[in-house]
């Protein structure tokens, strides 16, 4: 898995609450059997006009000033809906390695870590402030320092963020989760032989 440590990049704002995974990547793109190549499908219904090709000038992410953005600024309950991991894949393929939002849907949040992406949770008022700053300054960049668990603003000011230590370790080391679990293979076997395969309780 990709290591995540420091990231400095352009921030792009997404002005919507409850952004569901059907918006992040619509179902017609879930028919592929690959993990990559989803960049052009990200936010498809918002990003393109009805012909499916012409960029929608009203969709903020399409503005030239956000080209090359690697940090997505979002609102409450980001990633709700289906469990499709195509959502983080599409964000990652497009270039977003970090998301900042007040809250996330559960499955989406987990899926990010399994793809070496960092979803940061910050209080709503701080996120709103970032929205204002991003829009006020073209080329606005943030620096994410996972090791120190801080976001550094252009003026040098920093914002600390919380993260479960285990998630932090995994990203910093790029650990493959299956490999980590298989360190405890003997315990899994012992559990299985101790209980048999039928559901317990009988």
């Amino acid at each position: 898995m990709q290591v995540f440590n420091k990231l400095k990049g352009i921030v792009a704002p997404l002005e919507a609450v409850n952004v569901d995974t059907d918006q992040i990547i619509p179902k017609q793109f879930l028919k592929r059997i690959e993990r990559t190549g989803y960049e052009s499908m990200l936010f498809y219904d918002w990003r393109y006009l009805n012909d499916g090709k012409t960029l929608n000038p009203d969709f903020e992410l399409n503005a030239p000033r956000y080209e090359g953005a690697s940090i997505l600024l979002a609102k409450d309950n980001f990633g709700c809906g289906s469990s499709r991991e195509h959502a983080p894949w599409a964000l990652d393929n497009y270039g977003f390695r970090c998301i900042i939002a007040p809250s996330y849907a559960d499955i989406f949040y987990n899926n990010c870590f399994n793809n070496g992406m960092l979803p940061i949770m910050l209080p709503s008022d701080i996120v709103e402030e970032l929205f204002d700053e991003v829009r006020a300054h073209a080329g606005y960049q943030l620096e994410i320092d996972l090791e120190a668990q801080v976001i550094r603003k252009p003026g040098g000011e920093s914002i600390a963020f919380d993260l479960a230590p285990f998630f932090r370790e995994r990203l910093l080391n790029g650990w493959d989760q299956i490999g980590l679990t298989l360190r405890h293979e003997a315990m899994i076997s012992a559990y299985e032989s101790g209980r048999g395969f039928q559901p317990v309780g009988s």
């Binding site: 592929r32 849907a105 285990f166």
Partner: protein, 469 residues
Amino acid sequence: MAKNIYEKIWEAHVVHEPAGEDAILYIDRHYVHEVTSPQAFEGLRLTGRKVRRPELTFATMDHNIPTTDRSVPIRDPLSKQQVETLKQNCAEAGVECFDMHDRRNGIVHVIGPELGLTLPGMTIVCGDSHTSTHGALGALAHGIGTSEVEHVLATQTLLQKKSKTMEVRVNGALPVGLTAKDIILAIIGKIGTAGGTGYVIEFTGEAIRALSMEGRMTVCNMTIEGGARAGLISPDEKTFEYLKGRAYLPKDKSWDALVAGWKAWASEPGCTYDTLVELNAADIEPQVTWGTSPGMVTGISGKTPVVSELQGVEKLAAASALKYMDLGEGMPLSEVTINKMFLGSCTNGRLEDLRAAAKVAKGHKVHPSIQQALVVPGSHEVKQQAEAEGIDAIFREAGFEWREAGCSMCLAMNDDFLLPGDRCASTSNRNFEGRQGKGGRTHLVSPAMAVAAAITGHFTDIRTWNFND
């Protein structure tokens, strides 16, 4: 200390809890479908890993398959490839796969309980958010991403943090004409689409106990729409009665021993939860969603919101939802007209749903303004049983289309989808923008309410329906 069902299942399945890490939870049952699994099997191949317990894993094709004549090959080459990839992956790994020609085929969350693969006390996962459905039988069941699918295939375990618990208690008796769908929509309307985030919900109370198993599945199915990780209902006599005679029940135990084992999972009197939410069933009206999130819902006598009366995030969300839905502010839901109807999905595609809907349809005709009214059974088994009862004939006579089983227009990955501007009464679980087709508008309702809307052309209070018995 008295324990609730979640605590019991959790404790019985923790393999190991490494210090400072998530717990390794053993998984009893893993369901797989064609859309979220190919990259997981590919991952195993790339790392030279094997499926650890193929016999605990079952696969079905449901999302991508056509609901029209199955003898015709799938036209879309990508859908076809995905379906064939699943078949091949399962054959290689030794996983049983119910392909689209198998009589056991159907939507994964319909066939799991139907085949007796979902049992009380189990831990169940699937790369699908509506895995919460299986909680209706007293199993701890949740949706996972594709990386986690790979993890479960390789290790038969999942990493989990213990959730907080929420009791959602629905008191009293449900008024006549109301269904499980109305209960769960009312609950989501109350707690909000993120109200359950971080929680596992147990549904309790007389109204829940009074529901059939199929109704309980409808409730648990949409738990995820409230943001919760899983929804559970403690098993009782109805659960055991439902399971009796199901195809995949363990054959090596007597019925009495099985029931005794299952009973032991139920929450104990006096157990506690982190949070309690209470509703009175008597206060619930037939529900209709007006917006683009399942929490944007009101009773049939209600109106769309007036944006200026809302604040903050809600205001922003309501304004954009009404715009997408092309609805005015303060508009009575009973005045909203539709041109399409979809009856089916893992929420409401079971036999009882079709029966209830057929009662409404009987002796009526689909309204001339309706361009398509689809009835799609949740599984092949449901379809056959419904046909044996003559339900298909009632729908056909009334002008509905009777289809083969599958996910169909719930997510519109196959040929069943809305066109831009269509407005659909749907018994599915998500009214997100474009969910049923780009530019399509979805109103979530119960099966009876969907059929009533298809017959009158607009949303109609089912409590005043003229039944032709």
